[in-house]
Symmetry: C2
Subunit: 416 residues, 2 copies
């Protein structure tokens, strides 16, 4: 049986460690929407022979093949040559595609050059997929009953092309309802603890497979439709897991769906007409960035202060110099004053604060690397949590950010 | 000829769009250090038969094969079973590995459970690779003259195992000097503009291949050693490109190496004994986070303010309400006052400010989505740049952050 879809990511930079892939997540999610699944993905370098061999190998094994990257204007971009070789068709100049490139460059006040001319060549008989935001058009060719889609690398260019051209084409190939996947997100519980609590229920599911995905933000449980059972039966199984999670772990289960904790918490604040402000030392702006990642966040996110120096903790937040002198910048007392300080200065309903030692240097026996205080303050109260977070600098900062936002979520639910 | 190294990333979540891979970058860079190169990578789901088939297919084609993921305690973790099937050896219980798991759990104040017991099984004859920060030990087996390394998925667990066990083993397989790769980073110039300027030089290189890597932060030019020429000749070619870039684009070429602009600029500040503070609206904490990603940043990064509301621009930065009323929050005038305001309040040498319309909503005919003002202020002066940045919300924010930091870098170099 042939696979639905396979993806080939082209680029030496992916195999040399200079870039991480940005496409597989997007393509996998898009593909599920038209009822098909990506079953394999491959990463290959910018080399005509390697690309050609891989494409030729996969053609008989999959019904759709998506290649990304290597359509740029420079001489390391050889995906079009690789595909042409695999399918045994010559590259031909397309006057239409060339005119599109000329017009695109003109609209930017520049002139198309010989360098861009390469981008107007496509395998004979290929359908050109226009690119509205760049010079690299994509193309589609059909060989051995496999639809091959070749797309440019920059995500800004690839994504609209997938929506406009690839998905409608795949929909007419597969013509299936979407693959149903449901995610249940948790914070503050380990993968094996969660598994032990929930496995008695998940192992009895008839229509779903279950995945357990630990991350720095918590563990996600994912149910993927396994059978073609009617929607009501699929719904019932998801509903059962939802209910069990609420019973078993309460607020540590914070989302049914794929919203991150920053968005769940932001929307909860917005629904209550409440606001938050953030004072960050350890997390250095991460929490503010998570909140403001989402359009509309200006309704509930008022302000953040990244107070690295002691002076700025005093100047921007009103933390008393005596508090820092007596207890240190990394202490429950300083954290408390930071959370209250930002809340008052920004006139917000809630204040969040973080202070800690992200490392790798700066630890002492009494205050080791990873020591973290996270505070949530409200009118008349404050909760400060002390933790020692494992991992490197980036890990400590990410964990602390997620935990801080979850702590506000937990307080919001308790004080609903 | 067999490939040096191939990587197999195991996980349904990677093919369903719930996670992006975090390992290939790390493994590729690590592998280069011992003179070997990752030539192919594969992504496959959590399915015993698929894993077994893929491993069996690749064994004769590569000298080292690294698998990551699927060694956890839950029942969707089946990599060990897949590898055992591929090599035709049964899984056997290891009392030693089990005792390590028991001790690890005890050290965390917990008890090892039956769930963890699965993690003590390994293919007969495999060498167990201990995991110092988790319960999932890895293992190595040698089959058909291919060394197969199987490692757990969490980056915190995998990375120390690669350094401690995989690299020394690969070094004794390959025994080569590192693959030399040099990166040259630029900002504010397009891929095709840069290519047209520099191609007369790069096409004449004898000992390096060249890649052109456009990103939201700018275009990187990467020279990878192609021949075994002596170091002095490799150096000479890199030195030539370095010189040409400086002549051709000046400060737009900001780094020879792989430091991001935030680190280059931070180290330049530190060397001059100067400091920076940041006022962010559009970028919502990103710039602060980029600066504080680096250990030691507290020496030059004093403070950041994320001022989303107009009120907070006034309260935290001292922007005059009349300025916002007359020109709007997204204006050159407000940006100027933000940059000066944070600089004065944080008592920093330099102030950076951003304000703009990240979208997708909030644009008007006069102030479209993407409109961005970026300011850099110093004692007695300010530079404000107006741009219209293309792309979605995340793209606009990322581009604006990199440009803002580069603008400070440029001023630092001009006022050296």
């Amino acid at each position: 049986m042939r696979n639905d879809v396979e993806v080939i990511l082209v680029g030496d930079e992916l195999l040399r460690g200079e870039r991480s892939d940005a496409h597989l997540v997007f393509l996998s999610r898009a593909t599920r929407r038209i009822g098909a699944r990506v079953r394999r993905a491959h990463v290959v370098g910018d080399d005509v022979a390697s690309i050609a061999a891989l494409v030729a190998e996969r053609l008989p094994l999959t019904r759709a093949l998506v290649l990304t990257g290597g359509l740029g204007p420079t001489d390391d971009d050889v995906t079009r040559e690789g595909v042409a070789e695999a399918i045994g068709l010559p590259l031909e100049f397309s006057e239409d595609a060339w005119q599109s490139i000329v017009h695109f460059m003109e609209s930017r006040g520049r002139e198309a050059s010989d360098t861009n001319r390469r981008q107007a060549y496509f395998p004979r008989g290929a359908a050109v997929l226009p690119n509205s935001v760049g010079t690299a058009a994509g193309f589609r060719v059909d060989v051995s009953d496999c639809a091959v889609f070749v797309l440019p690398g920059p995500p800004m260019e690839l994504r609209p092309m997938v929506d406009a051209h690839v998905l409608p084409a795949m929909d007419s190939i597969f013509g299936r309802p979407p693959v149903r996947v449901e995610m249940f997100r948790t914070n503050g519980i380990t993968e094996s603890q969660l598994f032990e609590l929930l496995a008695p229920d998940t192992t009895r599911l008839e229509h779903h497979t279950v995945s357990w995905l630990p991350t720095l933000g918590g563990v996600d449980v994912v149910l993927t439709q396994r059978t073609g059972a009617e929607p009501a039966r699929l719904d019932a199984e998801c509903e059962h897991i939802h209910g069990r999670l609420s019973e078993l772990i309460g607020n540590r289960y914070y989302e049914r769906g794929d919203r991150p904790i920053s968005r769940v918490t932001g929307e909860l604040l917005a629904a209550r007409g409440e606001t938050v402000a953030v004072a960050e030392s350890l997390t250095g702006g991460s929490i503010a960035r998570y909140f403001t990642d989402h359009a509309g966040s200006s309704a509930h996110f008022l302000a953040g202060a990244v107070t690295y120096s002691n002076q700025s903790k005093t100047d921007l937040l009103g933390v008393r110099a005596e508090t820092i002198d007596a207890f240190g910048a990394v202490s429950e007392e300083t954290c408390t004053e930071m959370a209250h300080g930002i809340r008052r200065r920004a006139k917000a309903t809630w204040g969040i604060a973080t202070t800690g030692i992200a490392g790798p240097a700066g630890g002492t026996p009494h205050k080791p690397v990873g020591l973290t205080f996270i505070g949530v303050a409200w009118e008349g109260g404050v909760q400060v949590k002390r933790m020692i977070l494992p991992g490197d600098r980036a890990t400590v900062r990410t964990r602390a950010s997620h935990t801080a936002i979850w702590l506000l979520y937990d307080q919001l639910r308790r004080r609903g």
